[in-house]
Symmetry: D2
Subunit: 354 residues, 4 copies
């Protein structure tokens, strides 16, 4: 750990994820912001656009439209908070000539197989040769690789809630037949899109499923299921939108065989989860207690619970995260901490909303 | 249809369901309220306790503690809005000697098998011989029986949202392997319980699963699955609580075989739903469009959509209802209309909240 | 009252007010819809755009872009639900040649003085000579005039909540010095505008004042204060936005003189309110009990309470309405009922949301 | 500033304020918790009761029922988070014999005049002789006194939002005639009371005024108005409850004389506010821009805006705070920082919820 602060640049610093990232990095003991971009608000002070930043924005950080060469040279780590297909375009021209590490919070470098990428994102990848350079940045699963890596693809918000819940089962020798995943997300998951469906009057008191067939995060989830457990399992995934701003709650139904017949199945499964997560600062396994959004909103925590339904041979796993933190900006800073040799929890001890 | 209004008595008229029932019956063209009970508010005027009733409560309806014999004699139809195990106690003493019809909105007469009742409700049924006299009151499925019946057991709120979504599939010759049911309910589903977990500060911005193993409504759902389709299927059911007052959204995952391989599977399934519901005034099938809570809140409607996930061989069915109306009081009035020979929609053309 | 239904045309039937109007008129015993316009949704079925209409839309009402001459000829009453400055433009070409009555739910014909109109709306009125033909449609104050009138200017949502609360005081001989009005509105008051500030993520958990100086409704309020009590009083008015969809809560501080020194002030003031409203079906005075949004949401009611603060010589008056009903569409139907000789409450016995 | 951490004890650490205090102190660089009490949860681990504490509760802090003498001896600063009349009872027995400083977040030592105390709190004060030892802990106004003091009475949540908004005006030579204060609070302001009115179903989509005459915070506000400006002004105050968890928005109407006639009134007033607050880290004056709850929720900030209504001679001042932070626990830590010689913002750089 060095005495000097590293310099972080942020591409896309006015969306929900960019703002959370900016908040965390602004108070991080070993980071200073080298620049932050926003097409919409360029040349405005961050704290004029978002008054909540008046709290700690001493130097009146100003949004720039895009970074100059000097900005990039002056950067140790680059965070990208861009919509699908935008990160690869931005990086296209700047792969060479700079020394910064990269954390892409966007979705362009998560899927490693270009054919799969095209299937789920509908476009050809324009930097296929870079795909394998990016480590899939779910710290709890890939910490060692992240430590060695210069490029990290931060996972999607739903996949974080799904893969952390499934990992201990996938790593075990339990036989998993089918997996049904029913996720519920707060509205901020959609970003700050100006569309009729995101108006207050359309969402207040409302709830519904969307993209019930073929949501893009499936590709990422199935890839990592294979990476974690060596098995190919097709998952049935349904995202829903909840009338609240932040949080994802995921309910997973695993059809299992064998283990339920034996005595002590619950104890065995709970031990498995406890061992898997006991040393991980940002994941807590609650046993049969079911987590709640309010346990994690405003924090970088993932909380997990599990129930065994003997009647139907189903293992139900429940997970809760804050989609903008453990599902995006917090996860990214956790990865940065690992890449830079800082303590994993630095800057991430957050008070939460409840 | 007679010129004279029938007289309706309400046992338990200050809970959420009782209030909605009172609202509907107060404006029903062919009903007058003979009495309404409330232990908590006895001797108070309904409109003093619940100012929303000032709108139309001309005669200052007064809550009574319990009905006198004359009240009961003067009643054509009795509605019970009581917690589990209470309806059967109330009715114990009055099976004989009165001529009224009964609609039990409580849960005591839904399950027909006393062994199953004991399993799900934890108590011996005290009027086992009456169980078979009650028709299961899901109008869309049992209209003819309800027409002939004096006693109706109104279905539970979750089961309404589940069984209406599943019925066309169960009635068909499609081979259903597994059924996973993920339901999300508004807070009013829990009734007006004074418990820490129902405080605003605990539910606002929150979401979670509860009773993930062994929720009582499973017994009722599996019984009716068998009645509808002649098949024994064990369902895996998880209820969740949403931070909103009214509405249930149910997502069902049906693992199917065969049909998905053929061309035209979607058309065939959609036709099946359309035919099943085209003449039913309170169920609308939306095809592949997913219903929303806001489409049904404040109405007696159930809206249903379906998506076919070819990748995993899963039929996803989505349904939305207002838990207090189609899931309770509205469903009860629909049953009353059928039992009394009124038009099915009488009193139930409601404006909705959106 | 005639056996034949009257024909109502709606200009602007896809905004919040238009939809509520459509809902009420669809179930009104003496009305049928002759046409309904929507620029956005023309040629679509109302129930395809807004599934909640599937409930009762038997004949698949279709939005038209604008009415043909035959549509207008075939109309007994025309409702306009248009933004400021739009009603006068629409009516410009059709003042002559048609026999329909008009209820303008927009704001163009409320202010009678063209100079004042220009001051508050920033534009010259283009039909000044018609201003005096429109009766200010607050039924509780102008019922007799409305009965005789062909043209009614429906009041603004804030003014309804303010003027009903103030009327008994203004009509009395109490000496009012200053009036401070602090109103809080649900989000639907802004209409269905696609603007960043109305996104769910900007309003959820939020609250703030807006247009704190010079809100347009002040002109209308001060005009009617003069009409009611013959006094010119300038009011200080601040609107606020609440994170909920429907309802207005208004808190009024009246600096009074004299009466507070005397014994029995409260009784005198309460009697004054009770007498003023005892025969009005849609206004309830609750005495010192403070009304709540939940008492009125989803109904055409206005509930009013009053507290006397002896320490500061202030009469505090509280009122609650549903901004889309008593503050817009419900009020309009109430006016129509009076103009057409129907019972005042016809079509307006609504269940409310709580 | 010392290298050694000070030891803080918390009386009442399971209410909303106690929890926020615990969160802040747990991460404060110069504090460790010596003990925390809770009658309800004694002998339970904080993080078992409130899972959000799993994040950073390394040593499994356990609630105790009440502190032993050794606990108190081992404490440098004592925080009391108790309901009205409880702090004075707790302190009764322990005024002597201990060296800790005290910050009472309760309401017992705010009002200095025992007669006034009895008027507003309905009980005789049991430690009248201690009243003058407590400095009124609104840091922005009494920083120098707080620095020298051992006992601080933390201000009430409404008074913080009111007095910070009024202070620059009261300190000026502007002639203030009347002050009307309309405050709106989130539900957490009421604490975690198990009462029907605080159930989710009663508050969701609701809004109303309460305690419209004689709210206890008036006594405190009028006392401090006199302390700040040397003037006796009676204020008319109305608190309201909003359907959200955290935040207070206060709208103040000041009837002024003179200044409005002159040119440059706005500039003069804005300069006055800017000068008053430019060096205060936790208060931001936004000029004519109106603050919003979302600008401050989850932070220790107070944001203030002002509008001048020339038509009525009214200065409108708007302020927004988080009631549990700047209105309670955050304010208390700010005071502790001053009393202990730490940097004022230590432990209080919070990310906020938006």
């Amino acid at each position: 750990m060095t005495n000097k602060k590293i310099k972080a640049g942020i591409i896309g610093g006015s969306g929900f994820t960019g703002l959370e990232l900016l908040k965390i990095l602004s108070k991080h003991n070993y980071v200073e912001i080298s620049f932050v971009t926003s097409r919409t608000f360029k040349e405005s002070a961050v704290s004029d656009i978002f008054p909540v930043f008046k709290d700690y924005d001493k130097e009146k950080l100003i949004y720039i439209g895009k970074p100059e060469e000097e900005d990039l040279k002056n950067t140790d780590i680059l965070f990208l908070c861009l919509p699908p297909l935008e990160s690869m375009k931005f990086l296209k021209g700047i792969w060479n000539g700079y020394n910064f590490k990269i954390i892409d919070i966007g979705s362009d470098f998560r899927i490693k197989d270009p054919v799969s990428f095209k299937k789920w994102y509908g476009s050809e990848h324009i930097s296929k040769n870079k795909l394998s350079s990016f480590v899939y940045g779910l710290t709890e699963l890939n910490k060692e690789k992240i430590k060695e890596s210069s490029y990290v693809a931060n996972p999607g918000c739903y996949p974080v809630s799904i893969l952390l819940a499934l990992a201990p089962v996938l790593k075990s020798n339990m036989e998993v037949k089918d997996i049904y995943i029913d996720s519920k997300s707060g509205v901020s998951g959609a970003g700050r899109k100006l569309a009729d469906e995101y108006l207050f009057t359309n969402l207040d008191n409302n709830f519904y499923a969307y993209s019930a067939v073929g949501h893009r995060h499936i590709g990422e989830v199935e890839q990592e299921i294979k990476n974690i457990g060596g098995r190919e399992i097709k998952v049935s995934f349904t995202p829903h939108i909840m009338a609240l701003s932040r949080g994802i709650f995921t309910t997973i139904y695993c059809k299992l065989d064998g283990i339920f017949k034996k005595d002590g199945a619950e104890e065995k499964i709970f031990n498995m989860f406890n061992e898997f997560y006991e040393k991980k600062p940002f994941v807590k396994f609650l046993g049969s207690k079911i987590p709640q959004i309010k346990n994690v909103a405003g924090t970088n925590m993932c909380m997990i619970g599990a129930n065994i339904d003997q009647r139907t041979g189903t293992l139900k796993i429940f997970s809760a995260i804050d989609n903008l933190l453990k599902g995006a900006a917090g996860q990214a800073v956790q990865n940065m901490n690992i890449m830079m040799g800082f303590e994993e929890t630095e800057g991430l001890k957050l008070n939460g909303f409840f």
